[in-house]
């Protein structure tokens, strides 16, 4: 078992005082606090070599959970075991097993060349020469590090910095890799490059990957499993493909019409009980449930009513599904858990 989390909870205590000087003075005399439960009784287990997306809306508690798993932040209650080590009791031992990338931070030293940062990491993790050489060669090839490895981190573009950071987190062959928004602010090609690489590390080295992201493409491409957290609580924990299968009932047909037909929407809605929307005068979209109709039936019906010049079938994708989860339109029941 790679990661075992039981009843993990983090309560932040925030000083609360009325605005202005008066409020501040009052706070000195009689401090008042409000409590914020950022992570609320979270439990899950992750097997060796799994790739898990840990997602949820802003402020859901993702980063807070990751910080606790890495041993940076102490839990208010609950238990964490990463590779059999309790990160709160043995921070250093845990640190040897993990690699961490926080999209908003860097682990490179700002004012020294990237190459020097790597060398520092070699010392810190006591990486054997051969491993270090091989990894540097591999990462340089994949990420094109050669172009900027001599520069200080301060002088790198965001994309370059993120690639260097990801490389830095993997120099010591960690068993577990935490990625907190690793693709934030990157262009499409760099994102794709990073995704491919993470997938490769996960497959070839069996590195357990835990990733948070707001880019659902990251999740589809990298992760076999999705854990959704909202307001500190886990609301979904399911295999990525199952999530799609289970909830992706909605397909759509978008039809471009030869002649605008104001009556068409009403007719379709009444005859077939479809959810039809008008994109513009010539285009309509009909959404339907795959248990009720096939795409052919829907297209056929529209064809009977009017002349069609073009047709597109809209397949359900994970984005729509996860958006629904976020909007609490979908709640995963117990039996559908992994």
């Amino acid at each position: 078992m790679s990661i075992e989390v039981t009843g993990l909870t983090k309560v932040f205590r925030l000083p609360s005082h009325a605005p202005g000087l008066k409020g501040a003075l009052k706070h000195i005399v009689k401090p008042q606090y409000t409590e914020k439960t950022a992570v609320d009784n979270v439990s899950f287990t992750i097997q060796d070599g799994e790739s898990v997306a840990y997602i949820g809306p802003n402020g859901a508690g993702k980063s807070t959970t990751i910080k606790m798993l890495t041993g940076i932040l102490y839990a208010s209650s609950g238990k964490v075991l990463v590779e059999e080590i309790d990160p709160f009791e043995d921070r250093m031992g845990n640190a040897r097993n993990i690699g961490v990338v926080f999209g908003q931070r860097t682990q490179l030293w700002w004012d020294i060349p990237v190459e020097e940062s790597f060398r520092l990491l070699k010392d810190i993790y006591e990486i054997p020469d051969a491993v270090y050489r091989d990894n540097i060669a591999l990462f340089t090839e994949i990420f094109g590090l050669g172009e900027f490895i001599q520069r200080t981190a301060r002088r790198l573009s965001l994309g370059q910095r993120m690639r260097a950071d990801l490389a830095a987190s993997l120099l010591h062959d960690p068993k577990v890799l935490y990625l907190d928004e690793p693709t934030i602010g990157l262009d499409i090609t760099v994102k794709e490059n990073m995704r491919q690489f993470i997938r490769r590390i996960n497959k070839e080295r069996g590195t357990t990957v835990i990733l948070t992201s707001h880019d659902l493409q990251d999740i589809e491409d990298i992760c076999e499993r999705v854990i959704v957290i909202d307001e500190g609580k886990i609301v979904t924990d399911v295999a990525t493909h199952k999530l799609q299968e289970m909830y992706a009932h909605d397909r759509g047909v978008r039809a471009v019409l030869k002649h605008p037909d104001p009556q068409l929407i009403r007719k379709l809605s009444e005859d077939l009980r479809l959810h039809v929307t008008e994109n513009d005068a010539h285009t309509i979209t009909a959404m339907f449930n795959i248990n009720d109709y096939t795409a052919y039936e829907v297209i056929h019906k529209i064809g009977q009513l009017t002349d069609i010049s073009d047709i597109t079938v809209i397949e359900p994708d994970i984005k729509q599904v996860i958006e629904k989860v976020y909007r609490s339109e979908l709640v995963v029941k117990e039996e559908s858990l992994l």
Binding site: F12, S63, K67, T70, G71, I72, L73, Y74, R91, M92, G93, A95, R96, I98, V100, F102, Q104, R105, T106, Q107, W109, D111, I112, E116, R119, L120, L121, D123, I124, Y125, E126, D180
Partner: protein, 265 residues
Amino acid sequence: MNILKYRGFTRCAISEKINYRSRLLLNLAQSGIEAAATFFLWRTLFNEQSVINGYTWNNMVFYIMIAFIMNATLGYGTESNISNKVLSGSIAMDLAKPLSFQHMCFAETIGSSLVEGILAIITGGGIALLLGDITQVFALSYFGLFLISFVLAFTIKFLISYFAGLCCFFTSNGYGVIYLRQVITDVFSGALLPLSFYPLWFQKLSNALPFQSIVYLPTQIFLGRIAVSAAWKLLGVQLLWVIFLWWFDRLFFHLAVRKITIHGG
């Protein structure tokens, strides 16, 4: 545990200090102006008298020199480096690594202080040699003792600055913390005034605190104001402070880390 794995931090801190020359020189100027003010103050006082409280003018020149060197070594730039790690939250990345934060900061501090120290020794020492006669105050037989005392003084100063940096876990006013640390150190270390100039109760208080180990004790050895056997005793006092503060800081860090939340993300 492998101490050598921290040597890279020292190396990088040295090159970083050299790359940021302007900041380095500004900080040196700050200590220099302080030293100059003290210097001219004493100059006026010594116009009236040739010996004050057992110090001749020549003694005082070298006293000010050591105080200046000690102030400039591990200066504001180096000290704020520690509190910045805490305040910016970049400490999170350090904690996610198999590193002792204390060892890492010490290794970095050694590096940047080395640059600051050498610069201060060249400038401060050079000026003092022009103004005073070193042969009258410094005996070569004390050189080894002074060197050890200087290293211990530096370590104590680091441990106090490190503690101040850790206090930033509990306040966001890093500048205030450092300023307070500097004022207390200036007064109790003897950087402003040799401790023998203060009233007796104050001297007793200073004796019980670690600050006098930073400036006063090394100067007493440098100026040869005490016998060799007494000097060894002072080194013992300094060493005890190093050991005590080292473990005190470690304990404080472990307690603080449990309480703190790292900002951002």
